[in-house]
Amino acid sequence: MLESLRSQRLLALFCAGLALLNFPLLALWDRDSSMLGLPLFPIALFVLWAGLIAVLALILEGRED
């Protein structure tokens, strides 16, 4: 299952996502501050999510080596 580089990267991304989107890393964003006038936490959540999708797209669409 983990023969290819792509599979290993995917697994790594999965673990990263799991860590980032759960406590305690998630709680780091739970501050009463704002970013661009917007509350930090929801924005951070969506930005993280978008980042994960972007990396996922890169890994999947990239050349299989």
Partner: protein, 909 residues
Amino acid sequence: MLGAPWVVGVAFAYLLLLFAVASFGDRRARQGRSVIGTPWIYALSMAVYCSAWTYFGSVGRAASGGVWFLPIYLGPMLAMILAWMLLRKMIRIAREHRITSIADFIASRYGKSQALAGLVTLITVVGIVPYIALQLKGIAVAYALMTNAPGAPVTDATPWWADSTFYVALALAGFTIVFGARHLDSAERHEGMVAAIAFESMVKLLAFLAVGAFAVWGLFDGLGDLFARARAVPELARLLTLGQGTGFAYEQWFALTMLSGLSVLCLPRQFQVMVVENVDERHLKRAAWVFPLYLLLINLFVLPIALAGLLHFGAGANAEGFVLTLPLAAGREGLALLAFVGGLSAATGMVIVEAIAVSTMVCNDLVMPLLLRTRRFRAAAGRDHTAFLLGIRRAAIVCILLLGYLYFRLAGEAYALVGIGLISFAAVAQFAPAMLGGMYWKGGTREGALAGLLAGFAIWIYTLMLPSIAKSGWWSTGFVEHGPFGIALLKPEALLGMARLDYLTHSLFWSLLANIGLYVAVSLWRAPSAGETSQALLFVDVFHRNAAAGPAFWRGRARVADLLPLLGRFLGTARAEALFDEHARQRGVPHRDALQPDARLVRFVERQLAGAIGSASARVMVASVVEEEPLDLDDVMRILDEASQIRAYSHRLEQVTEELKRANEQLKSLDRLKDDFMSSVTHELRTPLTSIRALAELMRDDEQMPAAQRQEFLDIVVAETERLSRLVNQVLDMAKIESGHAEWHNTDVDLRKLLTQAVQTTTEMMRERGATVDLHMPETLPLLRADADRLIQVLLNLLSNAAKFVPRGSGHIDVRLESDSTGVTIAVQDNGPGVPAGQRELIFERFRQGGDALNRPQGTGLGLPISRQIVEHFGGSMWLRDDTAQGACFCFSLPWPASGAGTNSGDKT
């Protein structure tokens, strides 16, 4: 508020549009120009995950719990990261084993067990019913909001026959049948349905984004303004945090994430669109990130809409309807209608796909197996079962929807929409251990899967299902609050005293713990059975094996005449024949009648049948047709061994071919040698014949030939005749010795006597040449076991050779016999010109004669080779001593029989 006819009309129009898209898709599929063959469509079809839950439930959840609506979508996000490996494996397995549902998948993996198939179907039906109810509730609420005045009660306590939701359910059943149960497809492909689902995914996304944009920039001045205003209100401000002011329930967040992640794999509708309907597994590459992107986009405005609604309507409003009530309140009826269509779209999409998937399971894995037990059904020959199967499916669809309606009536008020949905998630999540374990663990057994599923299901019922019904008022909630019979430790929402978790996480924890625990424990209880092992290998190693060409785990007797009609019974005769033809073509057989009824063919038939009636039932049908010998584990292992042996054999075959090639080359060169020998012999024979014939003809044709001349010629003829016969004899001799056909008369030979005899025989020849012979021998000599005549032959050969080459008149030949512990050595030394260095080995070759051509004495060139052969036959050797000053010294040695054997080495070349 809109007029009811308007709303109904728009709803129907939209559904008809969906239907048109579906027909278009089906028609193109029949033409072979599929519209769904792109990864974008595939990704959009996955978005059927977003149902009325997303449209209404999420907003409601956001309004009460802030970001807590989100974990349901983070789970699929994480699951899709692994999709390329996980899903692809599922797709590959499903493709190779013609698996058409989750029940099929699990049952197939664990030895095509009908019990498992039935259990999974049962769990699915029970678990999905709440989810269907959720959709119905969503539609009902939406409809009410669109047609009633705001503020009016949303659901009335009307009797069911007057309840519009009932008719909605029936209408949905009808549409589902039209979409997916018009005909049987052995691969369970519904291209039209997929096209329609992709379409409606676009519609619901666009509609939601439209409402969201309206809420943010229509009702407020952008996100900043909205959030600033929300933060001003303390209750709303806390929605923007993780802890919601009460502390963060980490385990709940994690549980929800994990639950939704598992569900995206285990939900029947997801399995249907992601695995069964998959056209090309490479589409997964794109879809695996496009689908999460879709989820992100559709969730972008959930929180803003919730906040906008709360700000607009104040707390306590029914948040689930904000997507509709906000536009309505602002007078944007068109937008509200669009949102309604979007919500309707979401709900119907989910219902259609789910109902089709579940009805397939019910038909193949629940009803069919039960029917197959009745003899009457099995024995019904010649009847076309396709109509019957379709009927079962349609009935199942109607039943599922009606059950959904029933739940909606009974328990729809207990929880918010999201709560209902989560109960369904928790049910289908019970499949995960058996499914994922089956794909990666060869040790999973049928009993383990059964035990795990039963335990998980039972706990699910006890901790989630029953309490939900109780909380709807159909039961006293006493058993929930105090435990059954007052036993506090068995409180359904706090088993064994675990009261820290919320009801969902609690249920999830216990059910999965029991499920996984029993799965592993019972699987390890005993070794997997033969059928399970074979399936396990085919599943877990699917990327490494090609199932179609892999070992066929079956042993029995079958007849093509039985298999073809069996397939025809369920797929139609024409289609069955076409499939057989295709199979024959693939195997290189000229016609389907020429197909051998072997394991491969039986598996082929079983697989095709599985597409129509499920793998467990297919197995039963095929087994009824063929006489099958039950496989035991040894057989499976043997079949596997054969398969790997075949691989090893073909490798050895290559090696052997190489060796054979080399041997052939050797033989060819030997053949050439033989040819050379033959041509040499013929040449040698023909040469004297030529002179004999020519001279004889000359004498015949010339009567006036002088007598002297005639005499000379006759002398030559006679000499040549002798030469010829000598040659013939020697060639025969040589051939006999070499081929091992010579006769050897071994006696106890006195070498001294032999030597003396040989010298005496050649006295005349020596006297004529003027040569002297000296003989040196020891006084006594043990006897040697050998053929006396042959040894004489050797001695005479050496002596006559010596005589030929010694100078006339002064020739001297020295014959010496020596013996030691190993054997005797005889040396014949002459004082002739000797053998030039270049010819020392050459003279032992056939037809080679020493001396130069002009002075070559009469000889055949075969004497020395024959002598050498004779000597070597007795285990000795012959050579030319090369340390003599003058002349040649031919020597040969003969060993004493040490082990008592004059070994036959006559096959030396």
